[in-house]
Assembly symmetry: C2
Homo-oligomer: 331 residues x 2
């Protein structure tokens, strides 16, 4: 059996290109007792992977050169010497950018049979969904009276932030980068949408969209979005810092906002968080999200690239705003 | 009775100058029933007053043009029609930059007779001391195992931060702007001192001073200090944001650090706070600080200007690093 894989060929400086990746075919050995052979059906590309392409200390080790790009995937057991995972089992896994792999089962999670499309377990009820939920509920301690601002609102995390906040009765202001994406988040029931690419002054646009001020800013972007949020935050506002995608591909450092004094003046709390720290609360999250999905109260949106060879293009598209909702590769 | 006063003459852009102030003599009326006449003996100049010179929404209203510069002062009752404040009473008050004023007593606090020099109630056991204590104990929730970094460590707040952290068993790294100030904070028992004006790379200097990393950064300065702290913070570090004096006199906005992504990567918490929110805990603080002072466990340091006319110079000196410890004006 051949496993087609995408490996990291070199570390990018600034925006990655196709040349940073290479496709490699690896012959898999025969199964040993206790092992299963998985054929991946879906794989995930996520913005956080950009950080792992760099050689630096972080919350997760860097990808290694000439090794597979790791990450979330969904697969099916096609050969089994492990009674816990019979042939036909659907599993989520972290095998990454490859068509097939062998596992002893320790890194596999059986998908529950609750009538939810399997790829949702890479998105709305997977890592991005847990990120949105933990940032809002555990970090920002969301209250129904909050006005929530979310940047990258049409992304995998952002669209879940919008919906969880609305389900809790909050007022939600969403920032996106195109009219098409604005349409998507309007469909999620948000109260106001800003297409940041068409406004000349983000602070003014945000102020107009939320004249009552912002209580919670779900930070996905950094840069001008953080600056505008700081200007419009209410006293004692909370800023869960999920990511700052505007900075990920900077070849040289980009200065931060000039209004950080607002943290002091408005008594704001910025708190960085990483979804890994909330994995132990996945069951609580998934029970709630599973119910919302089955009741039709949360919608998913996906942008799908077909075939492993297109995984680098899908990944690069994340930084060019090419995804609406979760970016996925169908294998 | 004439009250000599310093009024705000105009709002500064960038660094204030003597021209932003003017001295005014005001004839005080005769006392009414319930009133007292106070002769101020000490007045305080503090960095936060720079913010009040600007016309902007903040946690405290702006100073008004042609009105007295408000602020903390210590005075003595020299005439009294209020039995709660007999002649000779020593009181702390917020009457600001003036030699005399009339009060009905509502804004006066009697100084306890605990053998502490009266001007300490403007410093180490006053607002700056409470700021240091609340930032460390209430915001950062200091633990004995913490390594604490404090900028502007020889200032009124910073020198108390150093001492409270050492009294709790912490390792303390202090940043100051001169050799003389370095000597002062060494005398407070800190573990390492950085004279930031003599180092070429603050991140490297901080890293060398705290190879174990920083758990709590007490932020008084902003700019390069925040950048270095973000680089050297440990995971889950806490940053109580007390002020960012580097920005106060900027005529045009100064960009923030380019490494704010560290907030996310290291799961840091930055929390702005204002001492006003902790006034209700003053008694708890003062009981502790009073004991430390009486036991000689906390030292005070003062820089004193003489005479009301020198108050603007004392205030401007705060932004030129002219104070060691609390900057005071003796009236």
């Amino acid at each position: 059996m051949i496993s087609h894989q995408i490996h990291l060929a070199s570390r990018p400086i600034g925006m990655p290109t196709a040349a940073n990746f290479k496709q490699v075919d690896v012959e898999l050995p025969a199964l040993k007792e206790g092992q299963v052979l998985i054929k991946n059906t879906w794989m995930s590309v996520d913005p956080y992977m950009r950080g792992r392409m760099m050689e630096r200390k972080s919350y997760i080790p860097p990808f290694e050169i000439d090794a597979v790009m790791e990450g979330g995937a969904i697969g099916e057991v096609i050969e089994s010497l492990n009674p816990k995972f019979p042939v036909g089992s659907k599993v989520s896994n972290i095998s990454g950018w490859r068509t097939h792999f062998i596992s002893d089962g320790a890194d596999l999670t059986l998908l529950p049979a609750i009538g939810i499309p399997e790829q949702y377990f890479l998105g709305v009820i997977g890592m991005p969904g847990l990120t949105a939920w933990s940032g809002l509920m555990k970090v920002a301690k969301l209250k129904p009276t909050d006005t929530v601002f979310v940047s990258a609102a049409s992304g995998a995390v952002g669209m879940v932030v919008c919906q969880i906040a609305k389900l809790h009765g909050c007022t939600v202001v969403a920032s996106v980068g195109s009219e098409e994406k604005a349409e998507l988040v309007r469909g999620l029931g948000v109260d106001a949408v800003i297409n940041y690419k068409t406004v000349t002054n983000l602070t003014e646009a945000l102020s107009a969209a939320a004249p009552q001020g912002i209580d919670v800013y779900f930070e996905n972007v950094g840069g001008e979005h953080l600056e505008a949020a700081l200007n419009v935050m209410n006293d004692y506002g909370r800023i869960p810092v999920c990511g700052m995608i505007a900075d990920y591909n900077a070849a040289s450092p980009i200065p931060g906002p000039s209004n950080l004094m607002m943290i002091n003046i408005k008594k704001l709390t910025l708190q960085g968080f990483i979804v890994i720290d909330y994995f132990d609360q996945f069951d609580e999250f998934a029970a709630q999200m599973g119910q919302w999905l089955m009741e039709g109260k949360v919608k998913s949106e996906e942008t799908v690239y077909e075939g492993l060879a297109n995984a680098p293009e899908a990944f690069l598209g994340l930084f060019e705003g090419k995804n609406k909702g979760k970016m996925l590769v169908k294998l």
